[in-house]
Symmetry: C4
Subunit: 260 residues, 4 copies
């Protein structure tokens, strides 16, 4: 990986008084995620895209202590190879995150404005439960044998119907999140993530077996609230499993009394 | 839904230095509820009534980030149809919450001063456990087949006996919270909520299957503390279920030694 | 209950710039306890004794919002009847807590300087598990059939050996906390609490069935840290139960290698 | 234990405006650990080494309330006997922590710059589950019969390969943490801790049965993030146990598609 950041550091790219500036927002979001247990022990991360500029947290940093000066910046248009990236601005003492090509996949393939990667235990536990076969997806012939499916829970409404589609999922819709295998090197996940994005064109998230989840959205608001809703559903699914309640149910639509 | 907020915005209705003003209190309460996991991913909400004026959080906002300028205000007396409401003050960039008619039902049918709606997982899990029949209510012929019942827990004393009645429930009393079906559109819940209010005239809360709970009270203090006590009881009930302890027990009253 | 607070309010008794003054400490402790889930929905409380003066939180207040001006003060020596107490200072809009005679019992019978009452779910769950008989105490002929016992856990060292005794319990010692029945009126617990104190002269805590726990200590530091350690042990005991691990075990002492 | 702190107190050793100074960092870290439930009820602790100077929290202090003036300082080179230590600086009202010789073992045997001791319930539960034999280690002839082993979880990458080795463990590597017996007196653990360090030269942590865990690292950053990752894995292991999922699995390496 070649780091060709300019000699003067381009520090102005991460300096702003606006709390909504990506270089300020990434640290405040990561501190919030640390409190939620999503980015424990330097795991996980978050990236924001503002038009052509992409802001990234460095590798191996304590997420609740991050500062704007820790942030990497790159130009999406200037990249020719996501594995050999050039940076407009690099913090002096860090290395770029191995998650970077996965974040870039969300930005280029889905036009996302923000991508969040968590190591939430609920996400990991859902992939472990899927391994046991207790909640095997019954959605037909899938290339990916593992698929998290849940329906008839109000919080499902927190998800958009898919990239380029209007509106959100409904209460009775089934939310489907594909699960990809984990690889020894995080960068090698990229091709599997991209394949899952192609196979599930409407998904805003991909689970990684025994690892965590990637969630993206058109902007920070959408990525963060979908990530929260998904974590809620993963936790609920684990508790439902403990009490023998299936994730998929067949519930007839309840009409308003004036229409019923 | 027609939004007829005045052209000049009536911004003074949400501008106050008093932290107890509803436009300041709703954001601080919602931030607290977000930390409790009650309003994850923009779900849930809170509304306060001050005489004729009703203050409402908008739809789809991150609850821990809400500002007084995000608040809707309407006059209860000026409404002719809760589904086609007119607003005295609307924030410029939001949509009214689908919860609004449900909050208004608590204000008009019960004279409530505050109504809280949570997506707490404990509330959802209680409705899921009731589906399994493991804790079927034995309270006689009910129109609603599902009813959460618990007794002989000290925290039950946190609930009032009912609208217009003096005092709170006792340790040996049975707390009963009706469960209504969830509908595809949240506004359509209104008629079911109103029916449950009619059938259970003493209740201060209604569970919504696979969705969450609505809790109200004469004022913010009562609505919030009853919502906390109820969430405590839902969590306890889930843990009791896991350990095979029934929610209803038959415990004789213990008299003070001086009287026994 | 007669409230004979002086006409001028004795406000100076709760006004101090010292954060360690009981009138400042009770609110800051209660806010901390609220975050721990110990005093949800106005349940539970805390009282501090400074020589003859006793500082008490009022009834029905939101514990995370308490202010020094909310605090009651009474002279221990001036009381002739704990059920008909006189106050040196009463907040204008509140009622005294029903916990007051229980706190006073810890101050007069044990010379405690602080008493904490929590509704912690872990405490309640331990009393519910004891009801099932799965963890029946085997400590001989006891008047109280229910007794929480645990040994061979490091955190047990957080407890003193007993009132008037030097030092703390050891790793291999058995911590014993008696459980009393709950009464319909909290004040009626007093006689049962006092009987448990008499029967277990070394205990610093009494569990109340389906209600919570009372914990006291010579000073705020000791009461708070023992309450934390006890809540830790209650939670651990519930988790041990879920995994089939008994609370009492027979483990031989491990000697240092230089002595073995 | 002889405390020979200088008469003038050497207070300058714990006085600094730099938040990264050990005397400031130990209190801020301990407050964070208290919120994580790692140092409940004065249990657990933290020590930092800066070249020859070692900074230590005192015994029996409330960890979320610690101040720089509470910190002990000693010179590592000046010690002749870890059980009879001399201090450069001692706080006036406290006693040295019984953990001190265990922290010193990490500093002298491993050249660690920071050592953290937690009473985390997840660590204790893991040692309790190992007692049951349900997760017996199958790593050959070990002097210590109990060993926590887990593999194929992404968070394992949060650990270094071992003292003096480059890089971190991989996803497919097995993390091994030895478990030592608990002793009645914490200082007596030292010899067992040292024996475990000798037997497992690559480990950065040692579990103590029914007690907690000691974790160290080259510096504060590494000790803290490894302690977080380990606590994450302990919690995950307990949840995996509850759902019947083994801690050790046999998963073939997934290659990047371009190489497969």
């Amino acid at each position: 990986m070649t780091d060709q950041s300019s000699a003067d550091g381009n520090h102005h790219l991460v300096k702003s008084d606006d709390p909504e500036h990506p270089a300020n927002l990434i640290p405040s979001l990561c501190a919030k995620f640390w409190n939620l247990g999503w980015v424990t022990g330097t795991g996980g991360g978050c990236s924001i895209r503002n038009d052509d500029l992409v802001y990234l947290a460095p590798s191996g940093v304590q997420k609740e202590l991050m500062k704007p000066s820790d942030i990497y910046v790159l130009s999406l248009a200037a990249q020719t190879d996501f594995k050999n990236r050039t940076y407009l601005r690099s913090p002096p003492i860090y290395k770029p995150s191995q998650c970077t090509p996965l974040f870039l996949a969300a930005f280029t393939r889905r036009g996302a404005g923000c991508c969040i990667h968590t190591h939430s235990q609920w996400a990991v536990l859902v992939t472990l439960l899927l391994e046991t076969g207790a909640h095997a997806a019954v959605s037909g012939n899938k290339t990916h044998p593992r698929l998290f499916e849940i329906n008839n829970i109000e919080q499902i409404k927190g998800f958009g119907k898919g990239h380029g589609k209007q509106g959100n999922l409904g209460y009775h819709d089934t939310l489907r999140i594909p699960v990809i295998e984990n690889t020894a090197h995080e960068e090698d996940l990229t091709e599997y993530l991209e394949a899952a994005m192609d196979e599930y064109p409407d998904t805003y998230a991909v689970l990684v077996r025994r690892h965590g989840v990637y969630v993206w959205g058109d902007n920070v608001h959408k990525a963060k609230t979908m990530c929260e809703s998904l974590d809620y559903l993963f936790q609920l699914a684990v508790e439902m499993h403990k009490m023998g309640i299936p994730w998929i149910s067949d519930i007839a639509e309840t009409l308003p009394t004036s229409r019923s």
